[in-house]
Protein backbone atom coordinates (compact mmCIF):
# COMPACT_ATOMS: atom_id res chain seq x y z
CA UNK A 1 0.00 0.00 0.00
CA UNK A 2 1.13 3.52 -0.77
CA UNK A 3 1.86 6.19 1.76
CA UNK A 4 -1.14 8.24 2.86
CA UNK A 5 -1.27 11.41 4.93
CA UNK A 6 -3.33 10.80 8.02
CA UNK A 7 -4.13 12.12 11.47
CA UNK A 8 -2.79 10.03 14.38
CA UNK A 9 -6.19 9.28 15.87
CA UNK A 10 -7.72 8.26 12.54
CA UNK A 11 -4.70 6.13 11.67
CA UNK A 12 -5.12 4.30 14.99
CA UNK A 13 -8.69 3.44 14.07
CA UNK A 14 -7.83 2.33 10.53
CA UNK A 15 -5.03 0.18 11.93
CA UNK A 16 -7.41 -1.44 14.41
CA UNK A 17 -9.87 -2.36 11.65
CA UNK A 18 -7.03 -3.93 9.67
CA UNK A 19 -5.82 -5.72 12.80
CA UNK A 20 -9.17 -7.50 12.95
CA UNK A 21 -10.91 -5.39 15.58
CA UNK A 22 -14.54 -6.50 15.35
CA UNK A 23 -16.08 -4.24 18.01
CA UNK A 24 -15.31 -0.70 19.07
CA UNK A 25 -17.13 0.94 21.98
CA UNK A 26 -16.41 4.55 22.89
CA UNK A 27 -17.58 7.78 24.40
CA UNK A 28 -16.75 11.29 23.16
CA UNK A 29 -13.83 13.09 24.79
CA UNK A 30 -11.25 15.55 23.46
CA UNK A 31 -8.57 14.99 22.15
CA UNK A 32 -9.42 11.42 21.05
CA UNK A 33 -12.83 11.92 19.43
CA UNK A 34 -11.53 11.30 15.89
CA UNK A 35 -10.86 7.66 16.83
CA UNK A 36 -14.56 7.04 17.49
CA UNK A 37 -15.63 9.21 14.54
CA UNK A 38 -13.46 7.15 12.17
CA UNK A 39 -14.94 3.90 13.46
CA UNK A 40 -18.46 5.35 13.17
CA UNK A 41 -17.84 6.12 9.52
CA UNK A 42 -16.09 2.91 8.55
CA UNK A 43 -16.80 0.04 10.92
CA UNK A 44 -20.26 -1.08 9.77
CA UNK A 45 -19.36 -1.14 6.08
CA UNK A 46 -16.31 -3.27 6.86
CA UNK A 47 -18.25 -5.83 8.85
CA UNK A 48 -17.55 -4.57 12.37
CA UNK A 49 -19.50 -2.95 15.16
CA UNK A 50 -19.23 0.65 16.29
CA UNK A 51 -21.33 1.68 19.28
CA UNK A 52 -21.33 4.96 21.17
CA UNK A 53 -21.86 3.97 24.79
CA UNK A 54 -23.72 5.97 27.44
CA UNK A 55 -20.53 6.34 29.48
CA UNK A 56 -16.88 5.35 29.62
CA UNK A 57 -17.90 2.79 32.21
CA UNK A 58 -20.41 1.19 29.86
CA UNK A 59 -17.92 1.31 26.97
CA UNK A 60 -15.23 -0.67 28.80
CA UNK A 61 -17.81 -3.19 29.99
CA UNK A 62 -19.07 -3.63 26.44
CA UNK A 63 -15.45 -4.40 25.57
CA UNK A 64 -15.47 -6.93 28.42
CA UNK A 65 -18.56 -8.57 26.90
CA UNK A 66 -17.34 -8.59 23.30
CA UNK A 67 -13.91 -9.87 24.31
CA UNK A 68 -15.55 -12.62 26.39
CA UNK A 69 -17.46 -13.60 23.27
CA UNK A 70 -14.10 -14.13 21.55
CA UNK A 71 -13.77 -11.17 19.18
CA UNK A 72 -11.09 -8.49 19.05
CA UNK A 73 -12.47 -5.46 20.89
CA UNK A 74 -11.21 -1.99 21.62
CA UNK A 75 -12.10 1.26 23.33
CA UNK A 76 -10.39 4.62 23.38
CA UNK A 77 -10.55 7.68 25.56
CA UNK A 78 -8.51 10.46 27.08
CA UNK A 79 -7.24 10.83 30.62
CA UNK A 80 -10.43 11.59 32.67
CA UNK A 81 -12.25 8.89 30.71
CA UNK A 82 -9.54 6.33 31.46
CA UNK A 83 -10.06 6.96 35.18
CA UNK A 84 -13.70 5.98 34.69
CA UNK A 85 -12.68 2.86 32.79
CA UNK A 86 -10.29 1.71 35.47
CA UNK A 87 -12.90 -0.47 37.20
CA UNK A 88 -13.59 -2.34 33.97
CA UNK A 89 -9.88 -2.58 33.13
CA UNK A 90 -9.26 -4.31 36.45
CA UNK A 91 -12.08 -6.80 35.82
CA UNK A 92 -10.80 -7.45 32.29
CA UNK A 93 -7.31 -8.12 33.66
CA UNK A 94 -8.70 -10.31 36.44
CA UNK A 95 -10.76 -12.27 33.93
CA UNK A 96 -7.71 -12.77 31.64
CA UNK A 97 -9.44 -11.11 28.70
CA UNK A 98 -7.59 -9.61 25.74
CA UNK A 99 -8.44 -6.11 24.52
CA UNK A 100 -6.84 -2.85 23.45
CA UNK A 101 -7.41 0.42 25.31
CA UNK A 102 -6.23 3.72 23.85
CA UNK A 103 -5.42 6.73 26.01
CA UNK A 104 -4.81 9.94 24.06
CA UNK A 105 -3.50 11.80 27.09
CA UNK A 106 -4.47 15.34 28.03
CA UNK A 107 -3.53 17.51 31.01
CA UNK A 108 -4.84 16.71 34.46
CA UNK A 109 -5.70 16.22 37.27
CA UNK A 110 -9.48 16.54 37.32
CA UNK A 111 -11.01 17.98 34.20
CA UNK A 112 -7.56 19.48 33.58
CA UNK A 113 -7.25 20.72 30.02
CA UNK A 114 -7.46 19.39 26.50
CA UNK A 115 -3.86 19.97 25.41
CA UNK A 116 -1.29 17.16 25.13
CA UNK A 117 0.20 15.70 28.28
CA UNK A 118 2.02 12.66 29.61
CA UNK A 119 0.71 12.84 33.14
CA UNK A 120 -0.96 9.41 33.05
CA UNK A 121 2.32 7.43 33.06
CA UNK A 122 1.85 6.36 36.65
CA UNK A 123 -1.79 5.44 36.06
CA UNK A 124 -0.96 3.34 32.99
CA UNK A 125 2.13 1.67 34.39
CA UNK A 126 1.52 1.46 38.13
CA UNK A 127 -2.20 1.63 38.85
CA UNK A 128 -4.57 1.18 35.93
CA UNK A 129 -7.14 -0.21 38.39
CA UNK A 130 -7.39 -1.99 41.74
CA UNK A 131 -5.56 -5.24 42.37
CA UNK A 132 -2.34 -7.01 41.38
CA UNK A 133 -2.11 -6.66 37.62
CA UNK A 134 -0.37 -4.97 34.70
CA UNK A 135 -1.26 -3.64 31.31
CA UNK A 136 1.25 -3.92 28.50
CA UNK A 137 1.71 -0.23 27.67
CA UNK A 138 2.87 0.93 24.22
CA UNK A 139 4.01 4.53 23.74
CA UNK A 140 4.00 5.62 20.07
CA UNK A 141 6.10 8.60 19.01
CA UNK A 142 4.70 8.96 15.48
CA UNK A 143 1.60 8.27 13.46
CA UNK A 144 3.34 5.32 11.80
CA UNK A 145 4.26 3.88 15.16
CA UNK A 146 0.67 4.33 16.38
CA UNK A 147 -0.40 2.11 13.48
CA UNK A 148 2.29 -0.52 14.01
CA UNK A 149 1.67 -0.64 17.76
CA UNK A 150 -2.07 -1.26 17.33
CA UNK A 151 -1.24 -4.47 15.43
CA UNK A 152 1.30 -5.49 18.07
CA UNK A 153 -1.08 -4.58 20.90
CA UNK A 154 -3.86 -6.84 19.55
CA UNK A 155 -1.43 -9.71 18.96
CA UNK A 156 0.12 -9.39 22.43
CA UNK A 157 -3.33 -9.14 24.02
CA UNK A 158 -4.47 -12.37 22.34
CA UNK A 159 -1.21 -14.26 22.84
CA UNK A 160 -1.11 -13.65 26.59
CA UNK A 161 -4.84 -13.02 27.24
CA UNK A 162 -4.23 -9.60 28.76
CA UNK A 163 -5.45 -6.04 28.22
CA UNK A 164 -2.96 -3.79 26.44
CA UNK A 165 -2.84 -0.01 26.20
CA UNK A 166 -1.69 2.44 23.58
CA UNK A 167 -0.55 5.42 25.64
CA UNK A 168 -0.66 8.19 23.07
CA UNK A 169 -1.06 11.89 23.70
CA UNK A 170 -2.91 14.84 22.20
CA UNK A 171 0.07 15.72 20.04
CA UNK A 172 0.58 12.32 18.39
CA UNK A 173 -3.20 11.89 18.12
CA UNK A 174 -3.89 15.21 16.45
CA UNK A 175 -0.94 15.61 14.06
CA UNK A 176 -0.85 14.41 10.46
CA UNK A 177 2.00 12.36 9.04
CA UNK A 178 2.55 10.05 6.09
CA UNK A 179 1.82 6.47 7.04
CA UNK A 180 1.91 3.03 5.43
CA UNK A 181 -0.61 0.45 6.63
CA UNK A 182 0.23 -3.23 6.93
CA UNK A 183 -2.05 -5.73 5.20
CA UNK A 184 -5.11 -7.00 7.03
CA UNK A 185 -4.44 -9.53 9.81
CA UNK A 186 -5.79 -12.99 9.17
CA UNK A 187 -4.16 -15.02 11.92
CA UNK A 188 -6.32 -14.34 14.96
CA UNK A 189 -5.84 -17.28 17.35
CA UNK A 190 -8.62 -19.71 18.29
CA UNK A 191 -10.19 -18.83 21.64
CA UNK A 192 -11.33 -22.05 23.22
CA UNK A 193 -12.05 -20.18 26.49
CA UNK A 194 -14.56 -17.77 24.94
CA UNK A 195 -18.21 -17.49 25.95
CA UNK A 196 -19.62 -17.78 22.45
CA UNK A 197 -22.16 -20.52 23.09
CA UNK A 198 -20.97 -24.09 23.75
CA UNK A 199 -23.19 -25.47 20.91
CA UNK A 200 -23.52 -28.65 23.00
CA UNK A 201 -19.98 -29.55 21.94
CA UNK A 202 -18.00 -28.64 25.03
CA UNK A 203 -18.41 -27.96 28.75
CA UNK A 204 -19.64 -24.47 29.51
CA UNK A 205 -17.06 -21.70 29.72
CA UNK A 206 -17.00 -19.20 32.56
CA UNK A 207 -15.36 -15.78 32.44
CA UNK A 208 -14.91 -14.42 35.95
CA UNK A 209 -12.50 -12.56 38.20
CA UNK A 210 -14.09 -13.84 41.43
CA UNK A 211 -12.20 -16.24 43.71
CA UNK A 212 -13.65 -16.20 47.21
CA UNK A 213 -11.11 -18.64 48.63
CA UNK A 214 -7.84 -16.77 49.33
CA UNK A 215 -5.60 -19.63 48.16
CA UNK A 216 -7.42 -19.81 44.81
CA UNK A 217 -7.21 -16.05 44.32
CA UNK A 218 -3.53 -16.11 45.23
CA UNK A 219 -2.96 -18.91 42.74
CA UNK A 220 -4.66 -17.00 39.96
CA UNK A 221 -2.65 -13.84 40.72
CA UNK A 222 0.62 -15.79 40.82
CA UNK A 223 -0.19 -17.57 37.55
CA UNK A 224 -0.74 -14.18 35.97
CA UNK A 225 2.60 -13.06 37.41
CA UNK A 226 4.31 -15.96 35.63
CA UNK A 227 2.77 -14.64 32.43
CA UNK A 228 4.12 -11.17 33.26
CA UNK A 229 7.63 -12.62 33.54
CA UNK A 230 7.32 -14.02 30.03
CA UNK A 231 5.99 -10.72 28.77
CA UNK A 232 8.86 -8.84 30.42
CA UNK A 233 11.32 -11.08 28.59
CA UNK A 234 9.55 -10.97 25.24
CA UNK A 235 7.84 -7.63 24.83
CA UNK A 236 10.06 -4.84 26.21
CA UNK A 237 11.07 -2.57 23.35
CA UNK A 238 12.96 0.68 22.88
CA UNK A 239 14.85 2.90 20.48
CA UNK A 240 18.30 4.24 21.23
CA UNK A 241 19.86 7.17 19.40
CA UNK A 242 23.54 8.08 19.68
CA UNK A 243 23.77 6.49 23.09
CA UNK A 244 26.98 4.45 22.58
CA UNK A 245 29.37 7.27 23.39
CA UNK A 246 26.89 9.58 25.07
CA UNK A 247 27.91 11.42 28.21
CA UNK A 248 24.42 12.74 28.66
CA UNK A 249 21.46 10.47 27.89
CA UNK A 250 18.01 11.96 27.63
CA UNK A 251 15.22 9.54 28.44
CA UNK A 252 11.85 10.41 26.93
CA UNK A 253 8.90 8.64 25.36
CA UNK A 254 6.13 9.57 22.93
CA UNK A 255 5.90 13.14 21.71
CA UNK A 256 8.56 14.36 24.14
CA UNK A 257 11.08 11.95 22.58
CA UNK A 258 10.74 13.75 19.22
CA UNK A 259 11.54 17.06 20.88
CA UNK A 260 14.41 15.45 22.78
CA UNK A 261 15.85 14.09 19.52
CA UNK A 262 16.03 17.62 18.09
CA UNK A 263 17.79 18.77 21.25
CA UNK A 264 20.28 15.87 21.02
CA UNK A 265 21.07 16.75 17.38
CA UNK A 266 21.66 20.38 18.31
CA UNK A 267 23.83 19.38 21.28
CA UNK A 268 25.95 17.15 19.05
CA UNK A 269 26.46 20.09 16.67
CA UNK A 270 27.81 22.00 19.64
CA UNK A 271 30.18 19.13 20.46
CA UNK A 272 28.26 17.73 23.41
CA UNK A 273 28.02 13.96 23.42
CA UNK A 274 24.28 13.59 23.99
CA UNK A 275 22.06 10.59 23.23
CA UNK A 276 18.41 9.60 23.44
CA UNK A 277 16.89 6.55 25.07
CA UNK A 278 13.24 6.12 24.09
CA UNK A 279 11.17 3.31 25.65
CA UNK A 280 8.53 2.08 23.21
CA UNK A 281 6.96 -0.05 25.90
CA UNK A 282 6.48 1.56 29.32
CA UNK A 283 5.42 -1.73 30.87
CA UNK A 284 7.36 -3.91 30.58
CA UNK A 285 10.12 -1.31 30.76
CA UNK A 286 13.22 -2.03 28.62
CA UNK A 287 15.43 -1.79 31.70
CA UNK A 288 18.42 -3.80 30.43
CA UNK A 289 18.58 -1.63 27.33
CA UNK A 290 18.37 1.48 29.53
CA UNK A 291 21.36 0.34 31.57
CA UNK A 292 23.30 -0.50 28.39
CA UNK A 293 22.53 2.90 26.91
CA UNK A 294 23.85 4.67 29.97
CA UNK A 295 27.15 2.74 30.17
CA UNK A 296 29.23 5.82 29.34
CA UNK A 297 26.84 8.40 30.68
CA UNK A 298 27.78 10.77 33.45
CA UNK A 299 24.25 12.08 33.64
CA UNK A 300 20.70 11.17 32.66
CA UNK A 301 18.12 13.80 31.87
CA UNK A 302 14.53 12.53 31.99
CA UNK A 303 12.16 14.73 29.98
CA UNK A 304 8.40 14.40 30.24
CA UNK A 305 5.22 16.35 29.69
CA UNK A 306 4.39 15.83 33.35
CA UNK A 307 5.57 17.00 36.75
CA UNK A 308 7.85 13.94 36.93
CA UNK A 309 6.57 10.37 36.74
CA UNK A 310 8.77 8.16 34.54
CA UNK A 311 11.80 9.78 36.16
CA UNK A 312 11.29 7.65 39.27
CA UNK A 313 11.47 4.47 37.19
CA UNK A 314 14.62 5.70 35.46
CA UNK A 315 16.27 6.06 38.88
CA UNK A 316 14.98 2.65 39.90
CA UNK A 317 16.10 0.82 36.76
CA UNK A 318 19.58 2.38 36.83
CA UNK A 319 19.86 1.67 40.58
CA UNK A 320 20.71 5.38 40.91
CA UNK A 321 24.15 4.49 39.50
CA UNK A 322 24.04 7.60 37.31
CA UNK A 323 22.74 10.99 38.51
CA UNK A 324 19.25 11.60 37.10
CA UNK A 325 17.85 15.08 36.46
CA UNK A 326 14.35 15.91 35.41
CA UNK A 327 12.91 18.46 33.05
CA UNK A 328 9.16 18.59 32.58
CA UNK A 329 6.41 20.83 31.34
CA UNK A 330 2.89 19.95 32.29
CA UNK A 331 -0.73 21.09 32.08
CA UNK A 332 -0.69 20.87 28.28
CA UNK A 333 2.50 22.92 27.76
CA UNK A 334 4.81 21.34 25.19
CA UNK A 335 8.54 21.87 25.81
CA UNK A 336 10.61 23.51 23.06
CA UNK A 337 13.80 21.77 21.88
CA UNK A 338 15.70 24.85 23.10
CA UNK A 339 14.50 24.25 26.66
CA UNK A 340 15.90 20.72 26.61
CA UNK A 341 19.09 21.89 24.91
CA UNK A 342 19.56 24.43 27.70
CA UNK A 343 19.30 21.63 30.25
CA UNK A 344 21.80 19.51 28.33
CA UNK A 345 24.27 22.41 28.18
CA UNK A 346 23.84 23.07 31.89
CA UNK A 347 24.58 19.42 32.69
CA UNK A 348 27.59 19.27 30.35
CA UNK A 349 29.05 22.40 31.94
CA UNK A 350 28.49 20.87 35.36
CA UNK A 351 30.57 17.89 34.23
CA UNK A 352 33.56 19.91 33.16
Amino acid sequence: MNKVLMKGNEALAEAAIRAGCKCFFGYPITPQTEVAAYFAKNMAKRGGVFLQAESEIAAINMVLGASSAGVRAMTSSSSPGISLKSEGISYIAGSDLPCVIVNVQRGGPGLGGIQPSQSDYNQAVKAPGHGDFHLVVYAPASVQESVDMVFTAFDTADRYRIPTMILSDGLIGQMMEPVVFPEKTNDIPEKSWACDGHKNKRKHNIVTSLFLEPDKLEKSVLQRNEKYKLISNNCADCETYLCDDAHIVITAYGATARIARSAVNEARKQGIKAGLFRPKTLWPFPENELRNSCKNAGHILCAEMSAGQMVNDIKLYTNCSVPVSFYGRTGGVIPEPEELLREIIKLSEGRQ
Binding site: E54, L64, S68, A69, A73, C195, G197, H204
Partner: protein, 249 residues
Protein backbone atom coordinates in the same frame (compact mmCIF):
# COMPACT_ATOMS: atom_id res chain seq x y z
CA UNK B 1 -40.12 -46.53 35.29
CA UNK B 2 -40.39 -43.21 33.46
CA UNK B 3 -39.04 -39.92 34.77
CA UNK B 4 -41.82 -37.39 35.09
CA UNK B 5 -39.98 -34.65 36.96
CA UNK B 6 -36.30 -33.76 36.97
CA UNK B 7 -33.81 -30.96 37.26
CA UNK B 8 -33.65 -28.83 34.09
CA UNK B 9 -30.75 -29.88 31.87
CA UNK B 10 -29.31 -26.37 31.76
CA UNK B 11 -29.14 -26.16 35.55
CA UNK B 12 -25.94 -27.63 36.99
CA UNK B 13 -26.27 -30.47 39.48
CA UNK B 14 -24.49 -28.64 42.29
CA UNK B 15 -25.36 -27.34 45.72
CA UNK B 16 -26.10 -23.60 45.62
CA UNK B 17 -25.00 -21.10 48.25
CA UNK B 18 -28.45 -19.53 48.58
CA UNK B 19 -30.00 -19.33 52.07
CA UNK B 20 -32.83 -21.65 53.05
CA UNK B 21 -36.14 -20.27 51.81
CA UNK B 22 -34.57 -17.87 49.32
CA UNK B 23 -36.52 -17.78 46.07
CA UNK B 24 -33.46 -17.40 43.81
CA UNK B 25 -33.64 -21.19 43.41
CA UNK B 26 -37.13 -21.00 41.93
CA UNK B 27 -36.16 -18.20 39.55
CA UNK B 28 -33.00 -20.07 38.44
CA UNK B 29 -35.17 -23.06 37.73
CA UNK B 30 -37.68 -21.06 35.68
CA UNK B 31 -34.90 -19.56 33.54
CA UNK B 32 -33.34 -23.01 33.05
CA UNK B 33 -36.68 -24.58 32.12
CA UNK B 34 -37.21 -21.91 29.46
CA UNK B 35 -33.68 -22.47 28.08
CA UNK B 36 -34.39 -26.23 27.95
CA UNK B 37 -37.79 -25.86 26.34
CA UNK B 38 -36.42 -23.54 23.68
CA UNK B 39 -33.42 -25.86 23.25
CA UNK B 40 -31.00 -22.93 23.32
CA UNK B 41 -28.48 -23.87 26.01
CA UNK B 42 -25.71 -24.17 23.42
CA UNK B 43 -26.35 -20.71 22.03
CA UNK B 44 -27.05 -18.88 25.28
CA UNK B 45 -24.66 -16.67 27.24
CA UNK B 46 -25.69 -15.55 30.73
CA UNK B 47 -24.33 -12.59 32.64
CA UNK B 48 -24.19 -12.81 36.42
CA UNK B 49 -23.77 -9.61 38.38
CA UNK B 50 -22.26 -8.65 41.71
CA UNK B 51 -24.58 -9.58 44.55
CA UNK B 52 -26.11 -12.82 45.78
CA UNK B 53 -26.50 -14.13 42.25
CA UNK B 54 -22.86 -13.63 41.26
CA UNK B 55 -22.25 -17.36 41.67
CA UNK B 56 -25.00 -18.07 39.13
CA UNK B 57 -22.19 -18.79 36.68
CA UNK B 58 -21.65 -22.02 38.60
CA UNK B 59 -25.34 -22.96 38.44
CA UNK B 60 -26.24 -22.55 34.77
CA UNK B 61 -24.76 -24.90 32.20
CA UNK B 62 -24.67 -22.34 29.40
CA UNK B 63 -21.61 -20.11 28.94
CA UNK B 64 -21.52 -17.51 31.72
CA UNK B 65 -19.75 -14.20 32.29
CA UNK B 66 -19.40 -12.40 35.60
CA UNK B 67 -19.92 -8.63 35.24
CA UNK B 68 -18.74 -5.78 37.45
CA UNK B 69 -21.41 -4.40 39.81
CA UNK B 70 -24.27 -2.90 37.80
CA UNK B 71 -22.61 -3.37 34.42
CA UNK B 72 -24.36 -6.55 33.28
CA UNK B 73 -26.46 -4.80 30.59
CA UNK B 74 -23.30 -3.24 29.12
CA UNK B 75 -21.49 -6.60 29.16
CA UNK B 76 -24.57 -8.21 27.60
CA UNK B 77 -24.55 -5.51 24.93
CA UNK B 78 -20.93 -6.36 24.12
CA UNK B 79 -21.72 -10.07 23.75
CA UNK B 80 -24.88 -9.52 21.72
CA UNK B 81 -23.21 -7.01 19.37
CA UNK B 82 -20.26 -9.37 18.89
CA UNK B 83 -22.64 -12.19 17.93
CA UNK B 84 -26.32 -11.23 17.46
CA UNK B 85 -27.27 -14.89 17.01
CA UNK B 86 -26.56 -15.69 20.65
CA UNK B 87 -29.30 -15.55 23.29
CA UNK B 88 -28.02 -13.24 26.01
CA UNK B 89 -29.57 -12.79 29.42
CA UNK B 90 -28.60 -10.91 32.55
CA UNK B 91 -29.70 -11.98 36.02
CA UNK B 92 -29.51 -8.97 38.34
CA UNK B 93 -30.57 -7.96 41.82
CA UNK B 94 -32.13 -4.65 42.83
CA UNK B 95 -28.95 -2.95 44.04
CA UNK B 96 -27.13 -4.04 40.91
CA UNK B 97 -29.79 -3.07 38.40
CA UNK B 98 -31.56 -0.11 40.00
CA UNK B 99 -28.80 1.65 41.98
CA UNK B 100 -25.24 1.27 40.72
CA UNK B 101 -26.38 0.02 37.31
CA UNK B 102 -29.36 2.30 36.59
CA UNK B 103 -27.51 4.00 33.76
CA UNK B 104 -26.52 0.77 32.06
CA UNK B 105 -30.06 -0.61 32.43
CA UNK B 106 -31.86 2.44 31.06
CA UNK B 107 -29.51 2.88 28.12
CA UNK B 108 -29.56 -0.80 27.14
CA UNK B 109 -33.35 -0.41 27.05
CA UNK B 110 -33.13 2.86 25.12
CA UNK B 111 -30.99 1.17 22.45
CA UNK B 112 -33.61 -1.56 22.14
CA UNK B 113 -30.79 -3.97 22.92
CA UNK B 114 -32.10 -7.40 22.01
CA UNK B 115 -31.40 -9.02 25.39
CA UNK B 116 -33.39 -10.49 28.27
CA UNK B 117 -33.03 -9.00 31.74
CA UNK B 118 -34.16 -11.02 34.74
CA UNK B 119 -34.50 -8.50 37.56
CA UNK B 120 -34.77 -10.03 41.01
CA UNK B 121 -36.34 -7.50 43.37
CA UNK B 122 -36.25 -8.48 47.04
CA UNK B 123 -36.09 -4.88 48.37
CA UNK B 124 -32.74 -5.41 50.09
CA UNK B 125 -28.99 -5.95 49.54
CA UNK B 126 -28.60 -9.62 50.36
CA UNK B 127 -24.95 -10.49 49.95
CA UNK B 128 -23.58 -7.59 52.00
CA UNK B 129 -25.93 -8.35 54.86
CA UNK B 130 -29.19 -6.49 54.42
CA UNK B 131 -28.74 -2.81 53.58
CA UNK B 132 -31.30 -0.47 52.02
CA UNK B 133 -31.86 -1.15 48.32
CA UNK B 134 -33.22 1.27 45.72
CA UNK B 135 -36.43 -0.76 46.00
CA UNK B 136 -36.66 -0.87 49.81
CA UNK B 137 -40.24 0.05 50.69
CA UNK B 138 -40.92 3.16 52.88
CA UNK B 139 -40.91 2.08 56.52
CA UNK B 140 -38.88 -1.08 55.82
CA UNK B 141 -36.16 -1.76 58.36
CA UNK B 142 -32.73 -2.61 56.99
CA UNK B 143 -29.19 -2.38 58.37
CA UNK B 144 -28.80 1.13 56.93
CA UNK B 145 -32.39 2.20 57.68
CA UNK B 146 -32.55 0.89 61.26
CA UNK B 147 -35.59 3.09 62.03
CA UNK B 148 -37.31 2.24 58.77
CA UNK B 149 -36.84 3.85 55.35
CA UNK B 150 -37.93 7.46 55.63
CA UNK B 151 -38.41 8.99 52.17
CA UNK B 152 -37.61 12.42 53.62
CA UNK B 153 -34.03 11.38 54.26
CA UNK B 154 -33.59 8.19 52.18
CA UNK B 155 -35.71 9.12 49.18
CA UNK B 156 -38.33 7.01 47.46
CA UNK B 157 -37.95 3.56 45.92
CA UNK B 158 -37.60 3.14 42.16
CA UNK B 159 -40.40 1.32 40.37
CA UNK B 160 -38.34 -0.26 37.64
CA UNK B 161 -41.00 -1.73 35.33
CA UNK B 162 -42.92 1.56 35.41
CA UNK B 163 -39.75 3.46 34.42
CA UNK B 164 -38.45 1.02 31.82
CA UNK B 165 -41.83 0.70 30.10
CA UNK B 166 -41.66 4.44 29.25
CA UNK B 167 -38.59 3.87 27.08
CA UNK B 168 -39.11 3.47 23.32
CA UNK B 169 -36.56 0.66 23.01
CA UNK B 170 -38.35 -1.55 25.55
CA UNK B 171 -40.32 -4.34 23.91
CA UNK B 172 -41.48 -6.11 27.02
CA UNK B 173 -41.71 -5.30 30.72
CA UNK B 174 -43.61 -7.48 33.16
CA UNK B 175 -43.59 -7.72 36.93
CA UNK B 176 -44.21 -11.14 38.42
CA UNK B 177 -43.79 -12.79 41.82
CA UNK B 178 -42.73 -16.22 43.05
CA UNK B 179 -44.74 -16.38 46.28
CA UNK B 180 -47.34 -18.89 45.07
CA UNK B 181 -47.85 -21.59 42.46
CA UNK B 182 -50.12 -19.48 40.22
CA UNK B 183 -47.65 -16.59 40.38
CA UNK B 184 -44.72 -18.91 39.64
CA UNK B 185 -46.57 -20.20 36.55
CA UNK B 186 -47.16 -16.62 35.47
CA UNK B 187 -43.48 -15.83 36.05
CA UNK B 188 -42.41 -18.74 33.84
CA UNK B 189 -44.66 -17.48 31.05
CA UNK B 190 -43.15 -14.02 31.30
CA UNK B 191 -39.57 -15.34 31.22
CA UNK B 192 -40.40 -17.49 28.21
CA UNK B 193 -41.86 -14.46 26.46
CA UNK B 194 -38.74 -12.41 27.27
CA UNK B 195 -36.50 -15.07 25.68
CA UNK B 196 -38.83 -15.56 22.67
CA UNK B 197 -38.52 -11.82 22.04
CA UNK B 198 -34.80 -12.30 21.40
CA UNK B 199 -35.53 -14.92 18.77
CA UNK B 200 -37.95 -12.53 17.11
CA UNK B 201 -35.58 -9.57 17.62
CA UNK B 202 -38.33 -7.43 19.14
CA UNK B 203 -36.11 -5.30 21.43
CA UNK B 204 -35.26 -5.03 25.11
CA UNK B 205 -37.16 -7.35 27.49
CA UNK B 206 -37.23 -7.24 31.26
CA UNK B 207 -38.99 -9.46 33.77
CA UNK B 208 -39.05 -8.08 37.32
CA UNK B 209 -39.48 -10.89 39.80
CA UNK B 210 -40.63 -10.05 43.35
CA UNK B 211 -38.48 -12.36 45.43
CA UNK B 212 -37.88 -13.10 49.11
CA UNK B 213 -34.89 -12.72 51.42
CA UNK B 214 -35.88 -14.48 54.66
CA UNK B 215 -32.37 -14.12 56.14
CA UNK B 216 -32.08 -10.36 55.82
CA UNK B 217 -35.77 -9.70 56.38
CA UNK B 218 -35.49 -11.67 59.66
CA UNK B 219 -38.40 -13.92 58.73
CA UNK B 220 -39.13 -17.58 58.23
CA UNK B 221 -39.46 -18.66 54.60
CA UNK B 222 -43.27 -18.79 54.85
CA UNK B 223 -43.45 -15.38 56.55
CA UNK B 224 -41.26 -14.07 53.77
CA UNK B 225 -43.61 -15.34 51.08
CA UNK B 226 -46.47 -13.74 52.99
CA UNK B 227 -44.57 -10.42 52.95
CA UNK B 228 -44.28 -10.58 49.17
CA UNK B 229 -48.08 -10.89 49.01
CA UNK B 230 -49.03 -8.40 51.68
CA UNK B 231 -46.38 -5.69 51.45
CA UNK B 232 -44.56 -5.94 48.13
CA UNK B 233 -47.32 -6.67 45.63
CA UNK B 234 -49.48 -3.74 46.85
CA UNK B 235 -46.47 -1.41 46.40
CA UNK B 236 -45.16 -3.09 43.24
CA UNK B 237 -48.27 -4.18 41.33
CA UNK B 238 -47.93 -7.25 39.13
CA UNK B 239 -48.69 -7.16 35.44
CA UNK B 240 -47.51 -6.48 31.93
CA UNK B 241 -46.37 -2.87 31.63
CA UNK B 242 -45.38 -3.09 27.99
CA UNK B 243 -45.56 -5.65 25.21
CA UNK B 244 -44.68 -4.52 21.74
CA UNK B 245 -42.25 -5.01 18.88
CA UNK B 246 -39.91 -2.05 18.98
CA UNK B 247 -38.95 -2.32 15.32
CA UNK B 248 -42.31 -3.29 13.74
CA UNK B 249 -44.94 -1.59 15.85
Amino acid sequence: MSVIFQKPKSLADVQTHYCPGCTHGIIHRLVAEVIDEMNIEGTTVGISPVGCSVMAYEYFNCDMIEAPHGRAPAVATGVKRADPELFVFTYQGDGDLAAIGTNETIHAAARGENITVIFVNNTIYGMTGGQMAPTTIPGQITQTTPYGRDPKTNGFPLKVCEIISQIDGTAFAQRVAVDSVPHIKEAKKAIRKAFENQKEKRGFSIVEVLSSCPTNWGMTPSEALKRIREEMIPYYPLGIFKDTDVWNK
